[in-house]
């Protein structure tokens, strides 16, 4: 079984709608500073996404924090942020003890296919040698270069630009279903928001 999300940039440049099938399920809006807000329609749950991860602003990174409902929010307009529920750090994330990479290239596929293709894969990195995302810097200064050479098993794909008619499509295997909304949002923000 797989899960598919489509993200379309509208109505403003700084906003996007997320669909599951034909149903609108969430919205992305520009938030304070350089962050974004993700609002899920069914329960009005909100999250704030920021590219400050592990203490500093990083490329290809987002931290997702739950927004806590605050009764005084209407008066002050303030949002209190709760725990960090999901992190992508320089295209890598950890979920249920396993590591994954966005925009990766699965094992067995020729690199020339990667170069010529317009599909980006989400791969599970079964042989990842680090225990935590934050450990990567210390022994691996060539992160962006060598990390890209870690191959894995494809568990999802992403394609399309958010501003195009078909939108940005993210398909995920069942093992990522519970964080699918976060992955789709971050994939859009990182690669397809234009």
């Amino acid at each position: 079984m797989s899960y598919e999300f489509v993200i379309k940039k509208r109505p403003k440049d700084s906003e996007a709608i997320i669909f599951s099938g034909k149903q609108e399920i969430a919205k992305i809006k520009k938030h304070e500073g350089f962050s974004f807000k993700l609002i899920r329609y069914k329960d009005k749950q909100e999250w704030v996404l920021s590219n400050i991860v592990d203490g500093q602003r990083r490329p290809f990174s987002y931290a997702v924090r739950k927004a806590i409902n605050n009764s005084s929010r209407h008066e002050t307009g303030e949002i209190h942020l709760g725990e960090e529920v999901f992190v992508v750090r320089e295209q890598l994330f950890k979920h249920k003890g396993k590591f994954y990479m966005l925009a990766s290239h699965p094992e067995g596929k020729s690199w020339i296919d990667y170069v010529n293709s317009s599909t980006r894969y989400i791969s599970r990195l079964d042989n990842f040698p680090y225990p935590n995302l934050s450990d990567i810097d210390h022994g691996h200064y060539t992160l962006r270069h060598k990390i890209k050479r870690f191959r894995g098993t494809s568990v999802g794909e992403a394609s399309g630009l958010g501003q195009h008619e078909g939108g940005h499509r993210v398909r995920l295997d069942k093992e990522l279903a519970d964080i699918g909304l976060f992955i789709a949002t971050i994939s859009y923000l990182l690669y397809a928001s234009g």
């Binding site: 440049d13 700084s14 350089f34 590219n51 500093q56 602003r57 990083r58 490329p59 290809f60 925009a103 094992e107 067995g108 596929k109 020729s110 690199w111 020339i112 990667y114 170069v115 010529n116 293709s117 317009s118 079964d126 042989n127 810097d137 022994g139 691996h140 200064y141 060539t142 962006r144 270069h145 060598k146 890209k148 050479r149 191959r151 394609s159 399309g160 630009l161 195009h164 940005h168 923000l189 990182l190 690669y191 397809a192 928001s193 234009g194």
Partner: protein, 495 residues
């Protein structure tokens, strides 16, 4: 030969393989001015420029394209020179489609990312014909910094340190500056006049480069430290990984790195006038990385395209750690490949010269739960290959000479151990680039050189507590608005 639309709307032109394999003229052909302008016009000028995020030196790709589309190459050059002193080098050496700017370009979703490398190359080449003033330099600080090593990390660091207003001297042990970019990248990929010109521009802003001086041998590190306010070590990768199989000491079995250095370090033309190697007709290269391809294609050219050149790779074709474009070019030139093979031994003649290689076939298996695959020899499947020369390029580690000599703390593979602020275990001494991490890309070494230079500057000026990373500064400064207005006030270094 024209490769259909690898990137951009215009063909990615390359020199004809049958002709180019007989000489060292540049393989990649440039865009014309009209093509550059049309291609730059396709840029969406994204509000979130992923291309810049993907560039290790945060080259202002968006700004470059915006100006180039208008034909304002002067502004285009200024914008990219701001963070990249080796524009022509990186335009040619970066694997843009492998995890860098072109890979990140949002137009890749439609299959046609902007040809950022070709636009950058045009701008760099344009500047060589239409000289632009050097970038701004801050007021003299009175501080002295010595940089050890003139590879990409050292050059990028020195450029930035000088722009901060410090007096900078770089020491280079060989007779030519440039490091791996000089001796390790063949001329058909990077014509040396491009590198020489960019090194001269670094010297033009007041960086003093002194060659044929080995720190730790000609001048003790301690003496250098006394004479300077800070030292930055950028001595790169040097220690080759050796292949320990029977016959490795036969004549004609050569380190691929030594081979490239011998051919290119004194200048290609000088080598061709007086070649050292008699390569013969059957050349084997053991490797599987970019250097093994460089060795293979260089050897082919030195034999005027007539020899049989085969690269022996341990990994399957789909898992090779090479630039796929380079692999394709090698294939076009007739370089052959054997995958999933491993050298068992080498045989020689009575004069002690290699004549054959005995090769094992291997398969990759995962022997334990970790899933990590290792090569396992397939029994009774070995074969023999004739060879007149065997080049070994299976990896290099950090240049360990200085840290061993001076007693600087090291990490894995004798890399200089550094903290997040690039400081080593010795006060006043910093390190960056391949000497701290092992072999990497030219642009990655430049990234680390620049970051280290920023830290050296903060150390010298007591600004360490107010450190802000380049990425943070670029992201929050929102240069996008400034670019749109067309107002450039690049009056000082990045700080």
């Amino acid at each position: 030969m024209v490769e259909p639309n690898r990137v951009g709307e215009f063909p990615f032109r390359k020199a004809d393989p049958e002709k180019r394999k007989t000489n060292f003229s540049e393989v990649q052909q440039p865009y014309s001015e009209q093509e550059v302008m049309k291609e730059a016009e396709r840029c969406l000028l994204c509000g979130t420029p992923v291309c810049i995020d993907a560039c290790p030196v945060l080259l202002d790709v968006r700004g470059m394209n915006e100006a180039a589309a208008r034909g304002d190459f002067k502004t285009s050059y200024e914008r990219i020179r701001e963070t990249n002193p080796l524009l022509g080098v990186t335009a040619r050496c970066c694997p843009q489609l492998q995890g860098l700017c072109e890979d990140a370009c949002v137009l890749k979703w439609s299959g046609q990312p902007i040809a950022i490398g070709l636009i950058q190359r045009y701008i760099a080449d344009w500047e060589r014909k239409h000289r632009q003033p050097p970038p701004s330099i801050a007021q003299d600080t009175g501080k002295k910094v010595s940089v050890i090593g003139t590879g990409p990390a050292g050059l990028a660091a020195s450029d930035l340190l000088r722009r901060y207003g410090h007096k900078v001297t770089i020491f280079e042990s060989s007779n030519m500056a440039g490091g791996t970019a000089w001796y390790g990248v063949p001329d058909y990929h990077l014509p040396k006049e491009v590198l020489i010109d960019e090194i001269e521009k670094v010297k033009l802003i007041g960086v003093d480069i002194r060659t044929n001086i080995t720190i730790g041998k000609n001048i003790p590190l301690s003496q250098l430290l006394e004479e300077n306010d800070a030292i930055l070590i950028t001595t790169g990768s040097r220690d080759t990984v050796n292949l320990d199989v029977p016959g490795s000491n036969l004549k004609g079995v050569i380190s691929g790195y030594e081979f490239l250095e011998t051919v290119f370090s004194g200048g290609l033309e000088n080598y061709l006038r007086k070649p050292k190697y008699d390569l013969g007709n059957d050349i084997l290269v053991i490797g599987g990385g970019d250097t093994s391809l460089d060795c293979a294609r260089t050897a082919l050219r030195l034999t005027k395209g007539k020899s049989n050149v085969t690269v022996l790779c341990l990994h399957p074709k789909t898992e090779l750690h090479v630039d796929p474009i380079m692999l394709q070019e090698a294939d076009e030139e007739g370089v052959k490949f054997e995958f999933l093979v491993q050298a068992k031994s080498f045989q020689g003649d009575r004069k002690g010269h290699v004549t054959h290689a005995i090769i094992n076939n291997v398969q990759m298996v995962a022997p334990d739960d970790s899933g990590k695959k290792s090569p396992v020899v397939i029994p009774n499947k070995e074969f023999k290959m004739k060879c007149s020369t065997l080049l070994i390029a299976i990896g290099r580690g950090p240049n360990s000479f200085l840290q061993k000599k001076a007693g600087i703390n090291t990490g894995m593979h004798n890399a200089i151990a550094i903290a997040d602020d690039f400081k080593t275990s010795m006060k006043g001494i910093f390190a960056a680039g391949d000497v701290t991490s092992g072999e990497t890309l030219v642009v990655k070494a430049m990234e680390k050189g620049r970051e280290a230079a920023q830290r050296v500057h903060e150390y010298l000026m007591n600004l360490e507590s107010s450190h802000v990373s380049f990425y943070e500064r670029y992201y929050t400064d929102m240069s996008y608005d400034r670019m749109l207005k067309g107002q450039e006030e690049l009056s000082g270094p990045p700080d």
